[in-house]
């Protein structure tokens, strides 16, 4: 391993242990790593945004092609972006509203189409299928369960009607489907969190301890 790798691995290992020390109790080592975590993450944003987005998509086109032709609209983008920061100058803080309005407006517009065309329609279409299952009993049963599940879950989320009588019973079935979904989500969440722990333990055992032993000449 190169020097920067050895040093880096030790830094990473010590930071990992600092954070893990919280499992015993809150302590200054954890607080140190926690503060560094927030700072480094923000610094990371600065680096990637400048290097990967603003440089190639704004600075270079404007520097190379000037402010004419097809890149003229980029000037506008730069101004809109900079204008967002006027919110930190109290006297002209309201300037930022226009930039925010454009930004929010575009994303809610795209989101509306995305939700209706990309979610509501295909998900509803996939529920409205032939319940006979083309002669396959299991397929017919699954389609039926799916239909009942979707309708009852939607009924549960329909709060304009009081959940009583037949409607209440149907929405209770919806709750059962939801509970099953949440239970499955919990099971998968356990799986996910354990996976992340495996990642850190692997780092400590294989890369840090194993790597250090290897560099000291122990093991293959």
């Amino acid at each position: 391993m190169a020097g920067y790798e050895v040093f880096g691995t030790w830094v990473a290992a010590l930071l990992t242990l600092c954070l893990m020390s919280f499992l015993y109790k809150d302590n200054p080592f954890f607080r140190f790593a926690e503060a560094l975590f927030a700072g480094v993450s923000l610094g990371y944003y600065i680096g990637i945004t400048l290097d990967q987005t603003l440089r190639p998509n704004l600075f270079i086109p404007l520097a190379e092609q000037g402010v004419t032709g097809d890149t003229a609209h980029l000037r506008f983008a730069g101004l809109v972006g900079l204008n967002l920061y006027t919110r930190y100058i109290p006297k002209i803080a309201w300037f930022a509203r226009s930039s925010l309005a454009l930004y929010v407006g575009y994303y809610v517009g795209i989101n509306m189409v995305q939700k209706l065309q990309g979610e509501v329609l295909p998900q509803a279409a996939a529920t409205m299928v032939d319940l006979s299952g083309d002669g396959n009993v299991m397929s017919a049963f699954n389609s039926f369960v799916m239909l009942v599940g979707v309708i009852t879950v939607l009924m549960y989320f329909f709060f304009s009607v009081e959940h009583k009588g037949g409607f209440g019973k149907a929405s209770r079935i919806g709750i059962w489907f939801l509970m099953l979904g949440f239970g499955a989500a919990f099971g998968y969440t356990v799986m996910g969190r354990v996976s992340l722990l495996i990642g850190r333990f692997n780092f400590i055992v294989i890369q840090w301890i194993g790597g250090t032993l290897q560099s000291l000449g122990f093991g293959g």
């Binding site: 990637i48 996939a126 998968y188």
Partner: protein
């Protein structure tokens, strides 16, 4: 007896932490090597890539960061490795701000080193990271260069032969998003929905239950869910490409298959805790009634 059991509910949680810690550490030190069974959603992605060849292009989006890398990284590595084994062209990119760039740079560098015959710019390209979410996705679907004027190092796309072959993601044969959170969904409900590009997703276990709805509706052709899904894909590669055995048996490599040993032990410990917790709960109720 009931009172003693009821007292269990008040034990210091650090004992639970210790057990989980040991359950994780011991199988790493002493691997068991449990077998892995393949599920249909993972098999479908493998089968799809098996139908592709050297004239086809896969867009591989690294939509995760270090927080979930332990789950997502083995999937991403397995997918790009599969593409390289079949000489399928790969356009790699990242849309997740908190670490997507680190993920794509790491994975492309790591796996491309296993294939010295492949040429950067001709067989694969790393476009790096881009802000903008859906705006970037829509742009790259139509024309990569509008979202990514250059690759991760700033090399103009016009100088990379692969990017002349595939101008936008909609011209590719498949998009695979290895995702944490919502970006994988966008590939289905925006790119698949509006451009018809086949989409497959490798997601974190936490997101898997939701992604099943997209899978069932045909908005995704396959799904790799969590570390288990990743281990299945590794197994498929080992079965289909025996030469990958040298890669996956490297003791310094963190693979999903090795992780399944720990996963098994820890799941059993947690199920044990749930059972024990319930016994203690009922014992407590009985003691109260008595």
């Amino acid at each position: 007896m009931s009172t003693a059991l009821a007292k269990l509910t008040t034990i210091d949680r650090r004992w639970i932490f210790l057990l989980i810690g040991l359950g994780t550490l011991i199988p790493i030190l002493i691997p068991i090597g449990f077998p892995v069974t393949i599920t249909p959603p993972v098999q479908s992605i493998y089968d799809k890539i098996e139908t592709l060849g050297e004239n086809d292009v896969v867009v591989l989006s690294y939509d995760y960061g270090p927080t979930t890398a332990a789950e997502n990284e083995p999937m991403a590595d397995a997918i790009i490795r599969h593409c390289f084994l079949r000489k399928v062209k790969v356009v790699a990119l990242a849309l997740y701000p908190l670490g997507g760039l680190t993920a794509v740079n790491g994975s492309v560098t790591r796996v491309s080193a296993e294939f010295p015959g492949l040429q950067y710019g001709v067989d694969y390209v790393n476009l790096g990271y881009k802000d903008g979410g859906q705006a970037s996705m829509k742009l790259l679907a139509e024309d990569f260069s509008k979202a990514f004027p250059g690759d991760t190092n700033g090399t103009p796309l016009s100088t990379l032969p692969l990017m002349q072959k595939v101008t936008g993601a909609r011209n590719a044969q498949l998009a695979v998003s290895i995702a944490t959170g919502v970006i994988g969904e966008w590939w289905a409900n925006l790119i698949n929905a509006q451009y018809g590009l086949p989409v497959a997703v490798g997601c974190t276990a936490v997101s898997a239950p939701k992604y099943y709805a997209y899978l069932e509706a045909g908005q995704m052709l396959g799904l790799i869910g969590g570390l288990k899904g990743a281990s299945e894909y590794e197994q498929l590669l080992l079965n289909g490409y025996p030469q990958t055995k040298t890669i996956y048996s490297n003791p310094m490599l963190q693979t999903a298959s090795k992780g399944m040993d720990v996963q098994t032990i820890d799941h059993l410990i947690i199920i044990g805790f749930i059972v024990l917790g319930n016994i203690a709960y009922f014992a407590g109720r009985r003691a109260k009634q008595a």
